[in-house]
Amino acid sequence: MNGASTKDPIKMNAAIPDGPIQEKWDKHRFDLKLINPANKRKYEILVVGTGLAGASAAAALSELGYKVKVFCIQDSPRRAHSIAAQGGINAAKNYPNDSDSVWRLFYDTVKGGDYRAREANVYRLAQVSNAIIDHCVALGVPFAREYGGTLSNRSFGGAQVSRTFYARGQTGQQLLLGAYSAMMRQVAAGGVEVFARREMVELVVIDGRARGVVCRNLVTGKLESYAGHAVLLCTGGYGNVFYLSTNAINSNASAIWRCHKKGALFANPCYTQIHPTCIPVSGDYQSKLTLMSESLRNDGRIWVPKKKLDGRKPSEIPEGERDYFLERKYPSFGNLVPRDVASRNAKQVADDGRGVGSTGFAVYLDFADSLKRLGVDVIRERYGNLFEMYEHITSEDPYQSPMRIYPAAHYTMGGLWVDYNLMTSIPGLFALGEANFSDHGANRLGASALMQGLADGYFIAPYTLGGYLGTARLDKVDTIHPAFAEVEGAVRERLQKLLSIKGKRTPSEFHRELGKLLWDNCGMGRNEAGLMKCLAAIPQMRERYWKEVMVPGTNEEFNQALERADRVADYLELSELLVRDALHRKESCGGHFREESQTEEGEAKRDDANFSYVGAWEFAGAGRDPVLHKEPLAFEYVKPSQRSYK
């Protein structure tokens, strides 16, 4: 069946502790081996990526006494793409007294993830959420405040309590700068060494354990080997496989993909999140899509004309001829339905010919009512920077006429499979933040990515890594070990091959072609015919790539075209796994909408009897079909039900 076969979960032990869910993490922390403080400095930890997960992990590990080396592709660790997160970070503080709790945050996250996440992981995430806020405040993160000096909260996409903390529309920036500053303090203290403009190009596995990385120095092109006792991948998601996404241009999937090819299982690649509120595509030259924080949905109303192909300006369409489709279909959540639901509905009205703007692939997000109710000043205070950003990009003033928005690829819930300790199926290789699959199931709630990145980095990996180091017998390894030379050789060969093709097409042309194919057939809606089409087209595209791509210059220099070419080659492989996963999962759940599996009202219909599991794929070698492993999901505390936001 589609080349996918199943076999026993040999390498998959989720290692979830026993006991009641409330006690699992405490018990586990007690059970984990401790490393003597004096011995910690003998351990070298390699952290790849410096977003929220990487920077916080590097800081926390160094504070504990480990020797940490940090690698990032940017010129400074402060620029990782976490910086672009706008809306906020969730925590179960219940400061607004609106009946929030660890339990409710846990419940909402499991439900929001459409019952495809591990309960124990999610509970732990909710448990540590409060400590994150405490720590970030202590680090000087300037969260929004009330006049009395306490922290402000707001409600955020899909939540009925106000549990989101924020720093204007720049929460990700401020949290990242907090983590970066904590890490730079450790640089000064000598516990962290930063290697900027380094791209991890390969993992080094010795005796079945992750023992090092090979990086390409992006300034000189030189391949550099680094040995360590463990490797933490904090390299983000694979949203850029769609070419157009809200990710940064250089965000890429190469680190996780190459680790996958070295033996790390890749879980749920088909769980991709399409963010409902982005500025629509305007032309072929477009290099990325800009997200508008979904906090806008708190006060903006989404609508399209009732009439198909209505060419009128929004101001000329009377109230009675507008369809506020989210409010109509989901009276209790209205414009605040979860991201997947909002996105899908926008696609439906656009496909129905009722989209707006020059392309017809947009819907209105209208602030007229809120401006009337709250006044310009309040709206400006809440969303001023977003309104300016919109006006700047589109040259239209959202105070005067409604914004046009459309969904765009934004986040990937899938990622490397990890156990409860955040360790992948390669011992010693951990994956944190968006790079892993662990907490969001099939759909991530707004303001939960920042929470997860910092939970993994500040409060989970520092404990679980100690547990691994304390029990694993790790021989001394340095970069003289032949495995490093071997890996370097393979990387060099691959890069030389890319450079030697000298075809006629640029890496971006292929990337754009792949992105369009995926967006059309494996984006917001997926069906068997479209997925089969992708499965036929991608290997052909890959073959053409390795015959027709043009990469100028040499490896031994600063060469951005080569960087890109190397990453696109990986997208041409990863995309196939994404499609394969989407094809095998013949149910709809969260961000994965199989058109064959929907309710009569057109909502996602899960198939718990057959698909209540984590689909983790094993790389079986080039040219061979990947092998599917299943980790069954048990729901003891949150009983799966059809998600309803009516």
């Binding site: 680090l139 204007r168 904590a182």
Partner: protein, 250 residues
């Protein structure tokens, strides 16, 4: 629209650079400035030529990576914007546009328009933080921060660390960047214990890194894409003076 670009090309740090001329054809006014360069680069790549190297990442004005001097102005003609959020509708058909890297001794050129800004990280490591180990924080609402202080701290914290302030300053002073961080932390109760140490350590490193002194040219404020005010430099100077007086007392 059709444009002529004069772009700084420099093979590497050791080589000499020069402006070279390129044609940018059929550019949509809705394209961003960087997308315009993408189009030129795609053409160069197709011809097997070396594309123009320039730093960029988020393309939405928040990561601080992009760093081009456009027609003599860091980040180009539009106030309070990075060059990645500058759109071609701000130019006219037939314009000649000069594109160069940041110019400062502290930011050596790596290639073409790419410079090395690691000095800014080293300045941060000198004291741009609050020393609080993970796990030791008190409850977040146990620290009350007056709203005005929080807002002012946020104004300063909005710095994206792009270094345009340095590129715009005739002295290549890094004062605005430093002052933004020092202000943010001085305005918050959490930043008080290390206040004096911080300002002394960070300013001491400034000169060693090759940055010049502030002589109130105010070019930094005019250039800053995040509208960071030079009032922060005044605050930094005040912090510095207080720290100096306080250590003289001891």
């Amino acid at each position: 629209m059709n444009l002529t670009l004069k772009v700084w090309r420099q093979k590497d740090g050791a080589s000499r650079g020069a402006l070279e001329t390129y044609a940018a054809r059929d550019i949509s006014p809705d394209a961003s400035f960087l997308e315009m360069i993408d189009i030129v680069n795609e053409e160069l790549i197709r011809e097997g030529k070396d594309p123009i190297a320039f730093d960029n990442d988020c393309r939405e004005g928040i990561c601080g990576t992009c760093s081009l001097v456009v027609n003599g102005r860091a980040h180009g003609p539009q106030r309070n914007h990075t060059v990645c959020t500058l759109h071609m509708r701000h130019f006219k058909d037939g314009d000649v546009i000069v594109v160069e890297p940041w110019r400062s001794r502290a930011f050596p050129v790596i290639k073409d328009c790419v410079v090395d800004r690691a000095a800014l990280d080293r300045l941060t490591a000198a004291g741009g933080y609050i020393s609080v180990p993970t796990g030791s924080a008190v409850d977040a609402n146990a620290i009350l921060v007056p709203r005005d202080s929080a807002e002012k701290a946020m104004d300063a914290a909005a710095c994206i660390g792009c270094g345009a302030c340095v590129a715009a300053c005739p002295n290549a002073s890094v004062s605005l960047f430093l002052a933004a961080k020092i202000s943010q932390l001085a305005l918050l109760p959490q930043g008080q214990p290390e206040r004096e140490r911080r300002v002394k350590a960070m300013t001491a490193l400034m000169k060693a890194e090759g940055f010049g002194n502030c002589s109130w040219e105010r070019e930094c404020e005019a250039t800053c894409p995040k509208d960071i005010k030079i009032a922060n430099i005044s605050r930094m100077n005040r912090e510095f003076l207080l720290a100096a007086l306080s250590s003289a007392e001891h």
